[in-house]
């Protein structure tokens, strides 16, 4: 059964959209600025209203607020909370987990190690490098075992070498955790590297996949 399904989803800048993402699949949404890519992720995350039908495992998400969807969302600006250390950013995500304090502590340690950011656990986000912030935000987004990971231009602000390292790390992590992911990007190489399938969004509408997107020629 498909993990995520959008049927005739519309928003003032988007759609109607039909999209299915299978369990464990990584789909990249490729498109130019202003195509509605971020809007699409925010709709799925529960941060924007929409019309149409959006389901997870056949269950409608209509009226389900963001805090009940258990979707990992990595925004373009990361939005790590600057008043908390990296570790506490993750602990905040686990605050309402129905697990014991010990289990939450163990999960925090585990995810810090998995995302290779344990050595910066006590640091505030604003003191980290770009790549470290990315790892910290990814660790926080994954902390609650999300059923879907949404990545909004995750590495657009990093230099090429850091970006390539993180592409490899994310790929390994995704395979290791069997994550279902929707990745928004305007970088065709990133889309092809990170995803199993690439779809193209232009002016709010999905186009059939093309080898060379029109804006890259």
């Amino acid at each position: 059964m498909p993990e995520l399904r959008l049927e005739a989803v519309t928003h003032p800048v988007l759609g109607p959209l039909d999209l299915t993402v299978a369990d464990g699949e990584a789909v990249a949404v490729l498109g130019p600025s202003g195509a509605g890519k971020s809007t699409l992720l925010k709709i799925i995350a529960g941060l924007l209203p929409y019309q149409g039908r959006l389901t997870f495992d056949g269950v409608s998400m209509a009226g389900v607020p963001a805090y009940r969807r258990n979707i990992g969302y990595l925004s373009q600006d990361l939005h790590l909370f600057p008043h908390l250390s990296v570790e506490n950013n993750i602990r905040l995500a686990l605050l309402f987990d129905r697990t014991s304090v010990g289990q939450r502590r163990e999960r925090t340690r585990q995810i810090l190690n998995l995302c290779a950011i344990a050595h910066r656990a006590q640091r505030r986000p604003q003191t980290l490098s770009g790549g470290e912030r990315q790892r910290a935000a990814l660790a926080r987004a994954l902390a609650r075992h999300p059923r879907l990971l949404l990545l909004d231009e995750p590495f657009s602000r990093l230099d090429r070498s850091t970006k390539q390292i993180l592409w490899t790390e994310l790929g390994t992590l995704r395979r290791h955790l069997g994550l279902t992911a929707l990745i928004v990007t305007h970088d065709a190489e990133e889309a092809v590297t990170l995803a199993d399938r690439v779809i193209i969004l232009q002016a709010g509408l999905l186009l059939p996949a093309a080898a060379t997107p029109p804006w890259d020629t």
Partner: protein, 268 residues
């Protein structure tokens, strides 16, 4: 240009000398032993205690109402917002005596609100509760304004991201937005407390000037100057000055750092 700087320097010196002169005149008016005695007077101690007690309660109320109202004004636009914001700013520019008179007429026994409160057994006028009401009234608009600015400086997307991490809007507000607006809110609290401590005009109208009953520090200065007992008046004035100086220093120190959520991300 140097002529202009010279003129500006002269103005700065004139202002500083005037402020300092007034302070020194006040501080040197009483010999130290007389000042020490005045500070120990029952009336001074009562005024200090009442001022602390009422102003802290007023601050708590003003923070509760002001923070929530400021948050709403920062996050939402609604019809009539400009009118409401102008109304909220009004107590800041109205003479406190006028504001106090309005409150007096609103809460008087002849007014519907006042008679309803009297029927419920609430007697705010001419009591310490009236002092708290007057102080809250003058401190709240300051806190609303500062809280609105503090929340506007925090990107609302932080709360949205907190939502995707399982935090309800209330928890996101308490654990993310309030701490991120913390420095601004703390400045607002200090400013509001300073305003409440120094409140006189509205308190005079709403709570009256009764010795050892509604006698806050400013009221003690007024009553004792009026009756020619300058020792207690000077002691209370010096306490007010010291507290105001300390609070202004705190505000200055708080303003020294950057607001949370502003410009700390420098992407590699």
């Amino acid at each position: 240009m140097s002529g202009l700087l010279l003129l500006a320097g002269g103005c700065l010196i004139a202002i500083t000398v005037t402020v300092l002169g007034a302070l020194l005149a006040l501080a040197s008016h009483l010999p130290l032993d007389a000042l020490w005695l005045a500070l120990q007077q029952q009336e001074t101690v009562f005024a200090l205690r009442l001022s602390l007690y009422t102003s802290l309660l007023a601050l708590a109320l003003a923070l509760l109402f002001g923070t929530l109202a400021g948050y709403l004004l920062a996050r939402r636009s609604f019809p009539g917002q400009a009118l409401i914001e102008t109304l909220l700013d009004l107590p800041m520019v109205t003479p406190p005596l006028v504001a106090g008179m309005g409150l007096l007429f609103l809460l008087g026994r002849d007014a519907p609100v006042g008679s309803a409160m009297a029927a419920a057994g609430w007697h705010l006028l001419f009591s310490p509760a009236g002092v708290i009401l007057a102080q809250t009234y003058v401190a709240t608009p300051l806190i609303v304004r500062s809280a609105r600015a503090a929340f506007q400086a925090v990107d609302p997307d932080y709360a949205a991201v907190a939502g995707t991490l399982g935090l309800t809007p209330l928890w996101a507000f308490l654990l993310v937005e309030i701490p991120m607006a913390g420095r601004g809110l703390l400045s607002a609290a200090v400013l509001g407390w300073a305003r409440a401590l120094g409140e006189f005009g509205a308190t005079l109208m709403v709570a009256g000037a009764t010795r050892l009953h509604t006698e806050t520090l400013p009221m003690a200065v007024f009553l004792n100057i009026a009756s020619g007992e300058t020792e207690v008046a000077i002691a209370c004035a010096l306490i007010l000055l010291s507290m105001a100086f300390a609070l202004l220093l705190v505000i200055r120190l708080l303003a020294g750092g950057k607001s949370a959520g502003q410009g700390q991300f420098q992407h590699a």
